[in-house]
Amino acid sequence: MSLKHHLISPLLGNNPITLQILGICSALAVTTTLSTAITMSVALTVVLCLSGGVISLMRHHIPPSIRLIIQITIVASIVIVIDQFMQAFMFEMSKRLSIFVGLIVTNCLVLGRAEAFAMRNPVLPSVVDGLGNGLGYSLILLIVGALREFLGTGGLMGVPLVTTVAEGGWFEPLGLMQLAPSAFFILGLLVWLVRVLRPEQVEQPEFRLKAAEDRRP
């Protein structure tokens, strides 16, 4: 289990969104445009690295009976500090992300990595694991954000790339793409695509219907 492995594997092989299906709430909410998706990705990656590092640093002194409380307190503090920084120096962006920066606290991904990885591993691998998972999350967010913004508005990062019908061009913006369900559709298609490429990610059915088995010739 090298550092490189911790960094690379969450990108595709063990992607937190497409394989573990963690943290999709924010993946739906902030991907209407590419710029909010980028900001959210950076914020989440920073939180993942910092919380992984801090929790790993004190892992020998976290009493197991209150470990979740301690983890979530640390994560919440980091998130509040980052939110304050954004309100001070990236005011416009923090207004557009509104409550979703604060909601990083409840992103399953952060607590999941703290509990599953940082509690049992040294500092450096924990930070790298946070970075890797953050990048894996970012990758999906950027794909979804780019698709939704382009198909929904005909531009990227607020810059129009094709002329829409309303402006005399040929491109009809797909309004659905700006609504939350489209993120589910894109996410579902991405999961499908990844599992076609990596069949080992397909889960075995937990049970089979007996009646259906019997009827088979």
Binding site: H61, I66, I69, T73, S77, I80, V81, Q84, F91, S98
Partner: protein
């Protein structure tokens, strides 16, 4: 030094199942976390305040842009922004000899000589103290009042709502409402910021012929000139905004000032 450090070392050497260690770690994490959050909040506040002040100004400018003909009128009058005056709220007169730009609401609210405590019954806007003076913004041409903008604020559902109410020269017709700052629930109360909803306000009347303040946000459809459609799912925000307007247009707010303007003009 070693003696000083030894209790700390002893503490960390305790088993993780030890009660002292559990409580100690909980307190320690809580202290360090709250210190980090407090330091960040205090150190970054000046930057955040500057951002918010710029935002408030931008929203008022934005409101002026939505008023038909207002920019032309300002061009004719040779001004590029509204004139700011300080009003003594108790008798409705203009405060003379003070620089309106130097008015600091927060400082006035801290100063017992510059503000009054509100009786809970009178305090429908939920602001506890009211400064004795308030800035107003007005546009006049050749001594005739064209537009007056009153800054109002008070408790919404979970945040302080700050708004600017622009009133036409008849002092009863609303020219526009701008929500300058609010932090209510996104998707519900926060919809008071939406231009489509704010567009319901122009033309509404704040008071009837007898001078009674009647402006109100209502459920269902607005049927009289004093009613504006409330926002569904945001009852507390809607009633909050009603109370804010009622308070600031009433006796403890700009009521005396508006009454004086009606009688004497500027």
């Amino acid at each position: 030094m070693a003696k000083l450090l030894s209790p700390i070392r002893n503490f960390f050497a305790r088993s993780n199942d030890d009660l002292v260690k559990i409580i100690g770690m909980a307190v320690l994490v809580a202290l360090v976390s709250s210190a980090a959050v407090s330091v960040a909040a205090v150190m970054l506040r000046p930057y955040q305040e500057a951002n918010r002040a710029a935002e408030r100004q931008a929203r008022i400018d934005q409101m002026l842009d939505t008023l038909p003909g207002m920019r032309d009128l300002m061009m004719e009058s040779g001004v590029d922004t509204l004139e700011t005056r300080l009003v003594n709220l108790d008798d409705g007169s203009f405060a003379s000899g003070e620089d309106p730009a130097g008015f600091d609401l927060e400082a006035a609210l801290q100063d017992p000589n510059a503000s009054i405590a509100l009786d809970p019954d009178a305090d429908i806007a939920g602001i506890k103290r009211r400064a004795n003076q308030s800035p107003v913004y007005l546009l006049q041409k050749d001594g005739d009042l064209k537009l007056i903008v009153l800054p109002v604020y008070g408790a919404g559902y979970q945040s302080t709502i700050r708004a600017a109410l622009a009133i036409e020269a008849d002092l009863t017709t609303i020219a526009a409402l701008a929500i300058v700052e609010q932090g209510d629930t996104p998707g519900f109360g926060a919809r008071i910021e939406e231009p489509e909803w704010l567009a319901l306000w122009p033309g509404k009347k704040i008071a009837d012929e007898t001078g009674t303040v009647r402006i109100e946000l209502v459920r269902g459809g607005a049927s009289t000139p004093y009613e504006v459609d409330g926002i569904s799912g945001a009852t507390r925000t809607s009633t909050g905004l009603t109370n804010i307007l009622r308070f600031w247009l009433g006796d403890k707010g700009f009521g005396p000032f508006l009454a004086r303007l009606r009688q004497e003009g500027l």
